[in-house]
Subunit: 360 residues, 4 copies
């Protein structure tokens, strides 16, 4: 650990918390690192892995430590509120994982705490920090497409990863947990033009038979305030050995004066190996054919971590030091993302169009 | 013209009729070729171009000629019925262009004539005869995906071509005239599993300002009888100089035991030329950057025509000689395609889900 | 068999002969079909499969039959001369498989017979009839690139197929048997501008250990008469389960006024199936991940054969009926292809630049 | 500027120096920034743009300032030695732009200074820090391909950028200035297995007519010590309006046990805009069609810089603080890159194979 000025707490020692901690430990401005997890053994293991200064099974105690100047909340999706609110109350900036919560009431509790404390809170939608989407946003800022009339964002992944996610939290459906990234991206690209209506349909089978409520595939058409129609889709039910190692996605924007096509399926970055290629997310899973670069968070390579989550973590830590502005998702944006994905699931369940914002 | 055994009439000397006639003239089994068009000058010009034996401004007279053994009906979409019914009554096999009609009542008139005459009628959905989709269908016949749970088919084109289509027939909207191809493909792939419900949304602007009722972009989610959800989309409003020279499309099928991705955007077959590349469909239009192979019907090259419409025409003429089975769209399938696209437009117009089959 | 006017003999009942025969049997102008193979049992089996009228173990007898009006010579690469010369002497047009021969002396024997008889002979380089390359040639005919300064053509395939080829004929190395297609394509694109020099290098290992003289990978830089430099490469040593089912290739042309990129790797037409996908060429070989459309010759689908070899066969049979010109490789072009590939192997073997034409 | 611990000098205020300075200014650990350029006005302008603490027209004076702890040498390719040697003598770590020099004698002068001082020097081959190549290297470290038998690396760019480079330095040919990146990558991937021989050919025309010695296209086959044959190619002569905004490249590795294909042409990340898209490198140049992500160094987006040069700069600055190892090209590796590219140009010029290492 360098003797920098930041004291960072990582709350939650799961998969994403592990990445946050490892990245923080490597950041040149981090001088103190603390890990907590309700399971003290996991906190300890991650602390040892990262050379953290302290660890604990008590999240709130860690957040309250005086050395800590900022907090990553990487607990399971449904348990964000307590840690986030505690940090905000203590005036410590927070980056919380997406989605901000699994219910609007939890989200509103966090937004209320934010308002009460005047604190600083951002939500970790790492897709924004994928290079291709940063470039896309820059083009939108320059207005290169003119007015947008429509678009498409669809994401596929293998069921190997879906089952790993659902095992961790059966409420983290592909819509709430994954499609939320693309809702976030599109709302970001169409900034100032919120979603107003959703129609959606899904088909169940594979996950249902395994005892989960998640659909195998979901399609939604979301109309935005100015009439633009964006098509969203997610299927995390592809065969377990399908070559993607995470999200294979496409994002397309159709404007009056331009068209942007971001093919992020990674089909053209291919590795075939007779030796097998391990999956970063799913233990004991490997494939012979892989789309390199499809890991959702990014990849460890030559001793460092590269990709969206690395960029995102870095940008936030840098921001804490330099004060430079960043494009991390704001809590208000994150609440719209949550509301829209809840509307998609509701539209599938009822078969009816759903207006936004949702009536409470 | 070789002294073969087929006597072919091409009714309608527009763009597609021209291709049908030129292809028939080159077919080794065609021994007599006749052209008709309500505009006798166009009929004459095409007859001269193809070396046809006769031409006329009277469609029914040409169909009735004794030398004629089979008929292509390539009139505008709304004027198919008279020529088709005449040929069926005379016991002459017919290939009619898609869509079979622009209204269900016209379609039903044709279906009634077919039933009454016991004739032979197929509908020209040339996408089925694109090599990539023939291969895809073959895989479906082998059941390589297992049960299909969802899919996607979306098609983009430049507004240069859309305006050329709409100028010819303002009722030939991208949904009725183009998306119908992909409805046809998906119904073919999912054979025996018909569409039962549609939700859809669209956005208007570019075409509306030019005085047409067509939407700039339309998205639809179609649920099939077994619950599979297929997402359809069309935008023919891309900038006039966008590199596609016709349909840039993607077709994706998600099954329990397999996944098939057909990226038919043609982005990887590229020509840049400082000299300009003419557009096959739109006169006086050229681009510097083109996706080769994106012409919808196919391409003339080294003196012959290659691609879907060439394959389709050839297969039908061969079939007339050899009696071998073909996969041309049947009238019943074509009526389902029409019904589904009408349902998509109705779902956009009303904002409500639409059940299939439509109530009459 | 339709009662058409062509009487076709297929000499050689191997893999390509089988395709030629099956395609001829379906052609609407073929009225008589004969099969021969030095192994009469193979000839008989193919005759039964195709409904051929006669079969024989005596190639020359079949060629001489009076019903026969044209001949496919599909014998092994090294045994073309006898059958070709016999047919030419009898004034029957011939399509012989590529390469025209495996030695220049054999090629020259065929060319001498051609000159003596004034007959009609073409060589089956089916890549010319792949749609993407037909379109590319058309662009070249229009001069869309201006003067060409350089280019690239490289082709990869799995060793599963390479071993099947080498087992059939150990002299049919990837350079002589496969790279010849791309030499042919480039010489066709650069028509009138012959190759004049070759430098080349290769690496051996996999095939050598299995007892074959073939290299695992070969790269060659060929300079053409006007100075254009074209890079050729072939590796047929990719892992057996690599997803290609035949040739995965890229062809790129760089001109003063334009650039053409033909990515024919087929990576974007993908099928993953847990059920396994059989390989068209290699018996008892199947993969879970396949690039659809990568079969070299083309694919059987919905009862017909689609792709380069189908187009090529069709174009030749049509030509026999209609007399229309075709773009099948001429014997003089085929000899240049052979000479250039021999030069590539010689350049690898000697490490020295090799001038063309070769000194005899 | 944050009050961090690094004092950074950027020597040379050209295009790359500007990026280095802007990135250093944003780095959270940089507390002092100095700019120098032989043209004091340029140094001043960049200092103003970045908020640098000091600037000067005297490179050596800036390097010697006590606040400076590390130095970027971003002078023109031919003028690296003086600044590098000065910094090394003062014990200050240096990152110098690639190629290390334009002649082996200049390179050797730098290597001698390094040896004499025991200093720390790395060379800025930013392609190593492109995410796709970092991932590729990681796969190589795991041995996923087994022994490599061959490979391909080719890079294309528009002549718009080539002329901008040649105008700056007519000796910075595409081989010495660009292909060196891919020589570096391949030598890195094949670590421990040095190049031993080169054959190469080129064609001139466009640049020659404009008065430069550079070839329009160059192909080289490089044999490595264990016999692996790697094909290298570069053409920076594509039409000025071709959609790439920098390097469009492909890197392919063929191993006994695996295959890796990195298609980095960026064809699938496309923007078409009627409004025009400015080129980052070439002033007053814009295109309507662009491959997003093809800028060689990377892209400014949402206020930060993303891509290879950002990653590379960051990694080096981080390393200065944390001491963590990095994969920046070492001077010995850089000399091999230079030697190999010189050998390629010599092989083109003489038409003869060239052995490596070069005889001096």
């Amino acid at each position: 650990m360098s003797n920098g000025k930041l004291g960072i707490a990582v709350i939650g020692a799961g998969r994403i918390g592990t990445l946050r901690a490892r990245l923080a430990a490597k950041h040149p401005s981090v001088g103190f690192l603390a890990i907590s997890d309700l399971d003290p053994a996991r906190a300890r293991a991650l602390a040892e892995q990262t050379g953290a200064d302290v660890y604990s099974g008590d999240n709130l105690e860690i957040i309250a430590r005086p050395e800590i100047t900022a907090v990553f909340v990487s607990t399971p999706e449904g348990e964000h509120a307590a840690a986030v609110c505690k940090a905000l109350e203590l005036g410590k900036p927070v980056l919380v994982e997406k989605p901000i919560a699994l219910s609007l009431s939890d989200a509103d509790e966090i937004l209320a705490a934010l308002k009460a404390t005047g604190g600083e809170l951002r939500v970790g939608y790492s897709r924004r920090y994928k290079e291709c989407f940063l470039r896309a946003k820059e083009q939108m800022l320059h207005g290169r497409l003119g007015k947008v009339v429509g678009g498409l964002a669809r994401v596929y992944n293998s069921r190997a990863q879906a089952f790993a996610i659902l095992k961790r939290d059966p409420h983290a459906t592909p819509v709430l947990d994954v499609l939320t990234y693309y809702v976030d991206l599109m709302c970001w690209f169409l900034d100032g033009n919120p979603p107003v209506e959703v129609v959606a349909r899904g088909q169940s089978g594979i996950f249902k038979q395994a005892g989960y409520a998640a659909d195998d595939v979901t399609w939604a058409i979301v109309t935005f305030a100015d009439g633009a129609v964006i098509n969203f889709g997610v299927s995390y039910a592809l065969p377990a050995k399908y070559p993607t190692l995470g999200q294979s996605d496409r994002v397309e924007l159709l404007g009056i004066e331009g068209t942007m096509i971001i093919d992020d399926d990674h089909m053209d970055h291919m590795l075939y190996s007779d030796k097998g290629i391990p999956h970063a997310y799913v233990p004991d899973h490997q494939v012979n054919m892989a789309f390199l670069g499809s890991n959702t968070a990014g990849d460890w390579a030559v001793g460092d971590f590269w990709g969206p989550l690395g960029n995102e973590t870095r940008a936030w830590l840098d921001h804490l030091v330099t004060g430079n502005p960043t494009v991390h998702t704001t809590p208000v944006q994150a609440r719209i993302n949550l509301e829209t994905t809840i509307a998609i699931e509701r539209a599938v369940a009822t078969g009816k169009p759903v207006r936004l914002p949702l009536e409470t």
